[in-house]
């Protein structure tokens, strides 16, 4: 929620990004797949994953030890592995200079943790020889900030380390949290984004959730992280401004049928706070939830110009990571199309538990 008065130099900018997705590791596979509109979901190997779904968007051949090595990974769960890998990629490609100031560099990660880890731990307690004979090394995995804390440990991020959660709006909430921390003077640079894992227990739980009266989408997984800092800090660090964050707004809706009205107001407010018009928006990355929520989103975005970029239909329902994927999709498009420089992009999210959000960016 940047105000008008904020000088350009003090505006918060995205100056780096990293993604691990059902297209594979890294930005390149993500950008190529997304721009070509290739579907990344595929038939699930139900022998390995006994889930009540036929298709899923799994990170291909994702194996924590082959990516991160054996050291420190014995007890690492999938959600944590995905986060650690993606944070590492972001720092490797864009983090020059940040390592010199680890106490002023932090991480705001959106995640619901790993329900698989939590339930496995309880299962061991219930089925073991004694009710307390569980693997103590796996206890930290059962706490939802494990991916965030482990990412900091692996990559020496000593600044604020925050975990946030809010369903499919999580990625936008994390970006806004990071923005407030930076404006409050709690850090100089923050990695912000979200991570989600595919797991058998998540699939079981998601199967019975309310999907707006529609069939559940295939589940997806992965992470997208963004380097957020002031324009001034980016310039000093020799980093290119990929996007300027003009603001985010959130609202709540009391019933699904009113989600569209809530989102319309969010969008109108984020545009008006930035002093721009709906007709000026060049790109829109909507959340595209299934069923009634999706219809509400379409109606809310009726008045907004701009090309729609589908994300969820290609990579699956990445829940906590979904809005972060949408934001990454915007940057992927911007990176491939120089004509988008200085144009506006809008990312929207509608969560079934009642939150809507909209984030507005100026590209390049």
């Amino acid at each position: 929620m940047s105000g008008h008065a904020e000088a350009g130099e003090r505006r918060l900018v995205i100056s780096g990004w990293a993604v691990t997705s059902p297209y594979g590791l890294g930005r390149r596979s993500f950008a190529e797949g997304l721009l070509a509109r290739t579907t990344a979901t595929a038939a699930v190997d139900t022998a390995a994953w006994p889930v009540p779904y036929e298709d899923a968007g799994l990170i291909p051949d994702f194996d924590i030890r082959s990516v991160l090595g054996r050291k420190g990974t014995r007890s690492m769960d999938r959600a944590t592995g995905i986060a650690v890998v993606t944070v590492g990629e972001l720092l490797e490609d864009f983090g020059q200079g940040l390592a010199a100031d680890p106490e002023k560099t932090g991480l705001v990660l959106g995640t619901s943790g790993s329900v698989q880890s939590i339930m496995d731990f309880t299962k061991d307690a219930l089925t073991g020889e004694k009710p307390y004979l569980v693997d103590p090394a796996r206890f930290p995995n059962t706490v939802m900030n494990c991916p965030t804390g482990q990412s900091a440990i692996r990559h020496t991020l000593k600044g604020p380390n925050v975990t946030v959660s809010g369903g499919s709006a999580t990625g936008l909430l994390a970006l806004n949290y990071a923005s407030r921390l930076l404006r409050g003077g709690h850090a100089n640079a923050l990695l912000a984004g979200a991570a989600e894992e595919f797991s058998v227990q998540r699939a079981r739980l998601e199967r019975v959730a309310d999907h707006g009266g529609a069939e559940a989408d295939p589940l997806g997984e992965g992470a997208a992280l963004f380097l957020l800092e002031s324009g001034e800090a980016a310039r000093e660090g020799g980093r290119r401004v990929l996007a300027t964050v003009l603001g985010s707004r959130f609202r709540a809706f009391p019933e699904t049928g009113r989600a569209g009205a809530a989102l319309s107001r969010c969008v109108a407010e984020v545009l008006s706070d930035a002093g721009v018009a709906a007709a000026d928006v060049a790109l829109v990355a909507p959340g595209t939830p299934p069923g009634l929520l999706g219809k509400q989103e379409e109606a809310a975005l009726d008045a907004v110009a701009g090309e729609r970029i589908p994300v969820r239909p290609l990579v699956g329902d990445a829940t906590a990571a979904s809005a972060a994927f949408q934001l990454a999709a915007v940057l992927a498009h911007a990176g491939a199309r120089p004509a988008l420089v200085d144009r506006l992009a809008l990312v929207t999210a509608l969560d079934r538990d009642g939150t809507v959000g909209a984030t507005l960016l100026r590209l390049g």
Binding site: C146, G149, R204
Partner: protein, 421 residues
């Protein structure tokens, strides 16, 4: 105006002052602000044998469980079975905080607001239940009503739905056992920057088998009671509950003539980035210093510290070592309310914030109970066993968490007569 790239802990600009005007608490020593305040003053203990789950096979099994909570007494809009126990605590706490602040739901609805709720375990008690069903009845067995309420976002969303808020940012902050301070700090930044006018912030957690088992396996569950800073301390007792703070800008509070418990002066965050469960002294010290800088105070201003004070052998020594690193040898009194209410996980630092706000308003320091002999390795005046009266100006509340996630909050006394100015 200080630049955006100021040293960590410094504010970017002078902004709105932020005050606490309502408290909602659900604890094992009392539900509601009056019962909680009375429990703190009296040094009440919430310790008792666990009834939340079957503890057969454990050599000892005390916890600070809440045995008299009735969700129906607090929920007016949502059916109780739509919410897990942690969300029920959170919603009850939010209703109490709004009423305690002298507001109606319509008053809160009319303002732009933030709801940020910290947690360690979310609805892990429900996940325990679902796992138990799978073990007993087969892997694919699921209770759909329970399955739908397990996601952590529902702790904050439950409050928003129950109160019918619409112009609101809703976020759950599962930053483990310092989560309450993170959530309160987020509210402070949101109000002080002018982004929102009002915030309901805090933390909630419910007792669960998973967490009890984990701490038991680590050898950190006390056999009887929790004795922070005591030479014979043997560990934590797990606890449960919720602490929710109604926060608003000073202008808003003064305009409506609200009773002010305390001012939020600022807060600091740090990450150890070293070990997932063993806290790091230097990093905690850095967090305390960042909080002081953010609040514009010096160590000499602090009248007492509400410590994280888990009561384990190692953690108390590390935490006091960090405090000594910042304060030198002249330490303020340092207490742990976990001696009374147990370790309520994501609610812990939120409930401690509520206790600090009450202490500032009413002029007392809550005791550290179950205390016999102070460990010379800690060497603090922990206000053993009995509360003391004290004229307080500034209070510091420490929160430490797995993952090396530290958050320290600083609260200040509000002089009613200065309201005229």
């Amino acid at each position: 105006m200080t630049s955006q790239t100021a040293a960590t802990g410094q504010r970017a600009a002078a902004r709105h002052r932020v005050v606490i005007t309502g408290l909602g608490v659900v604890t094992s020593i009392g539900t509601g602000v009056d019962a909680f305040a009375e429990g703190l003053r009296a040094g009440r203990s919430g310790a008792k044998p666990i009834s939340a789950f079957d503890t057969t096979g454990f050599a000892h099994s005390n916890a600070c469980e809440i045995t008299d909570f009735e969700p129906e007494a607090w929920l007016r809009e949502l059916p109780a079975d739509e919410l897990g126990r942690a969300a029920q605590f959170a919603v009850a706490g939010a209703r109490m905080a709004v009423a305690d602040g002298g507001l109606t739901e319509a008053d809160v609805r009319a303002r732009r607001s933030l709801v940020s709720i910290g947690t360690t375990d979310g609805e892990s008690r429900d996940l325990d239940h679902l796992t138990g069903l799978q073990v007993a009845q087969g892997e694919d067995t699921l209770d759909p009503v329970v399955a739908r309420r397990v996601w952590p976002g529902r702790l904050s969303a439950g409050i928003v739905r129950e109160l019918g808020l619409e112009d609101v940012e809703t976020v759950t902050v599962p930053t483990a056992c310092a989560a309450g301070n993170y959530a309160v700090g987020y509210g402070y930044d949101a109000i002080s920057s002018g982004d929102v006018e009002m915030a309901l912030c805090g933390g909630a957690d419910a007792l669960c088998r998973k967490t009890f088992t984990g701490f038991y396996r680590l050898g950190t569950i006390a056999p009887d009671v929790c004795r922070p800073f005591d030479a014979d301390r043997q560990g934590i007792l797990t606890g449960e509950g919720a602490g929710i703070l109604l926060m608003e800008s000073l202008e808003s509070a003064l305009a409506r003539g609200a009773r002010i418990y305390a001012e939020v002066l600022g807060y600091g965050l740090s990450c150890d980035a070293s070990h997932p469960v063993a806290p790091d002294r230097d990093s905690i010290a850095r967090c305390i210093t960042a909080a002081h800088a953010n609040a514009g105070i010096t160590p000499a201003d602090v009248d007492f510290i509400s410590a994280h004070g888990t009561g384990t052998k190692a953690n108390d020594v590390t935490e006091v070592g960090a405090i000594r690193q910042v304060f030198g040898e002249d330490l303020p009194r340092t207490v742990s309310i976990k001696s009374m209410i147990g370790h309520t996980m994501g609610a812990a630092s939120a409930l401690a914030s509520a206790a600090c706000a009450l202490a500032l308003r009413e002029g007392f320091i809550p005791p550290t109970i179950n205390h016999r002999t102070t460990d010379p390795e800690c060497g603090v005046d922990c206000v053993p066993n009995e509360a003391v009266e004290a004229d307080l100006k500034v209070v510091q509340n420490n929160g430490l968490a797995f993952g090396g996630n530290n958050a320290v909050l600083v609260l200040g006394h509000w002089e009613d007569r200065s309201a005229v100015a």
